[in-house]
Amino acid sequence: MELLNMDNVTMKFGGLTAVNNFRIKINTGELIGLIGPNGAGKTTVFNMITGIYKPTVNKIYFQGQDITEVKPDKIAKVGIARTFQNMRLMNNLKVIDNVMIGFHLHLKSNLLSAILKLPGYTKEEEEIYNNSMELLKKVDLEKYENEKAGGLPYGQQRKLEIIRALATKPKLLLLDEPAAGMNPQETRELMDFIQQIQDEFELTVFLIEHDMKVVMGICKRILVMDYGVIIAEGKPKEIQDNPEVIKAYLGVDSDYA
């Protein structure tokens, strides 16, 4: 089933075209990688999907519904969650609160019953807490429950951010360089973790990554971007041998050109 469809979407900032004619169709259950050199426009694609930027030309569809003009919080509601390249946790809040915020958009109780702690709300809050702890256990962070999120080691902050995204109960999860700054051991764990949550939550994952081991290891399909355009698309093996990709990443010696 088709989940996300970007049909020749273009994003311009004034005279600069950051993303040009970007097209992708993501089906339910896929795990797709997006790679490319720095400044290729990868994060801009994520920002367009999550409503932070509004594409200049053409539209984005999620489950057949036009989400081009929808605000970020409503996009989270329809089922797209993301993490950020330069992590955006609520550093001053406790680890558990960071996860519990993710459940806020599904809260049924109204403001008054929340303030007065009426039974209906208390029950819901308890449920949210239990579900959050459940999620924390998946990444072995339950013992840091009451620590401030900003005080966690880097690798664990990354995991916490993914967990927080999962709390919104997404259908599509966008991961922006999840392995950035991780050591090889942590990276391996992360790869396993991504595949594990994909199965468990029936997620569709779209990820940006620089670490080739991650991309080649877990993605079934890869898109390569350079200067805002897609220069290659295919299975990991095809991408590795594609001369265009090699050129974008390594450059071409002028003697042989």
Binding site: I52, D73, L89, H104, S109, L111, A114, E124, E125
Partner: protein, 354 residues
């Protein structure tokens, strides 16, 4: 420590507070009562501003404006009609206000309601701004309210102000309203909605991307804060018995801001302590202004030196104790018992070492 026990402790301490208020109300002189009343009103003001600034991270300087709306509303509603005819000498009061005469509690609720309506109207466009820009816009709003109050004598009696407001505010009212404010705002902060507010403060983009509706939550926090500022304004009017536009100049907001900064952003306990400390010092620092003569060296009388002292205090706090007096610690029974436990254990272990 069980939840049930904590509930009993809270009820007991409220009863003790009631006794203290009763004794203070009956045995303290008017001067001391005035300071305590102001302290309690500043608790309401400080906690409500802390909700907007400390918990939601929206730098608002509009509190004096909301207070003014509340103060004028209460004044117009509780003044007896015959008295209104006497004091409105520049221009006669317009119709509905000439006949309106309501009980104090209803007037206070109206004060809060109108301040909240104003916050809703101003908040929707203005809360799109961030940081300093929001501060400037809300400051502008407060000034507009003051200038309007100055220029519609048919409702506010212009620069003359409204005099002879019945002195309804006593410690029961001011402390009661302060407790109610703390109860509601603490309830809000400790709920899922409160978490959303703090998420906005910590990282707006992240909050929005995980589904927090920014406009709704910011305006909600702003409106609830303004409601209590309006109620506090009503109490203020019925404490001083006379109000005029000059009472709601920027200095008013600045005083509340001092309380919030002293108490610490996002600390309700700190704000409560800071509110009373501020008012005590404001009065008991008066000797500072009287000048000092040491024979060879003398300081002349300088009116306003108190405020300089406060500014210096504020600088020290901002430089050395950014989290406020209590360092961001919130009062809880559990915390209190842990503190005592540690305190006594230390003592006994010191004793055994000897």
């Amino acid at each position: 420590m069980k939840k049930q026990h904590e509930k009993y402790l809270t009820i007991i301490s409220i009863i003790i507070l009631g006794i203290v208020v009763y004794l203070a109300q009956n045995y303290l002189d008017a001067y001391k009562l005035r300071i305590l009343n102001l302290g309690a009103i500043y608790v309401t003001l400080g906690v409500s501003l802390n909700l907007i600034y400390g918990f939601t991270g929206q730098f608002s300087l509009g509190h004096a404006g909301f207070m003014a709306i509340g103060a004028y509303t209460t004044a117009l509603l509780v003044l007896p009609p015959y008295y209104k005819e006497i004091i409105f000498i520049i221009e006669p009061l317009v119709w509905p206000f000439t006949v309106l005469h309501t009980p104090f509690i209803f007037a206070l609720l109206c004060s809060g309601f109108f301040a909240a309506i104003a916050a809703l109207l101003i908040g929707l466009p203005v809360l799109r701004l961030k940081g300093d820009y929001l501060g400037i816009a809300t400051l502008g709003f407060a000034e507009i309210i003051r200038i309007i109050a100055n220029n519609i004598p048919q409702i506010t009696n212009g620069a003359l102000g409204i005099k002879g407001i019945p002195e309804f505010t006593n410690l029961w009212w001011s402390v009661g309203v302060a407790l109610f404010t703390i109860y509601i705002i603490k309830g809000l902060i400790q709920s899922s909605y409160g978490r959303a507010l703090m998420a906005i403060r910590d990282n707006e983009i992240a909050a929005e991307v995980i589904g927090v509706n920014l406009t709704y939550h910011k305006v909600m926090s702003f409106t609830i804060g303004a409601f209590f500022a309006g109620v506090a304004g009503g109490l203020f009017a019925c404490l001083l018995t006379t109000i005029d536009p000059k009472a709601f100049m920027f200095v008013m907001t600045f005083n509340i801001l001092i309380v919030v900064v002293l108490g610490g952003f996002g600390s309700i306990t700190g704000t409560v302590i800071a509110a009373f400390l501020f008012n005590f010092f404001l009065e008991y620092l008066r000797p500072v202004e009287d000048g000092l003569d040491l024979g060879i060296f003398s300081i002349p009388k300088i009116p306003g030196l108190r405020m300089v002292t406060f500014s210096a205090l504020l600088l020290i706090i901002i430089l050395y104790k950014q989290k406020g007096l209590l360092g961001g610690v919130e009062f809880s029974w559990q915390g209190l018992f842990q503190f005592f436990n540690r305190f006594f254990n230390k003592k006994s272990s010191e004793g055994s070492a000897k």
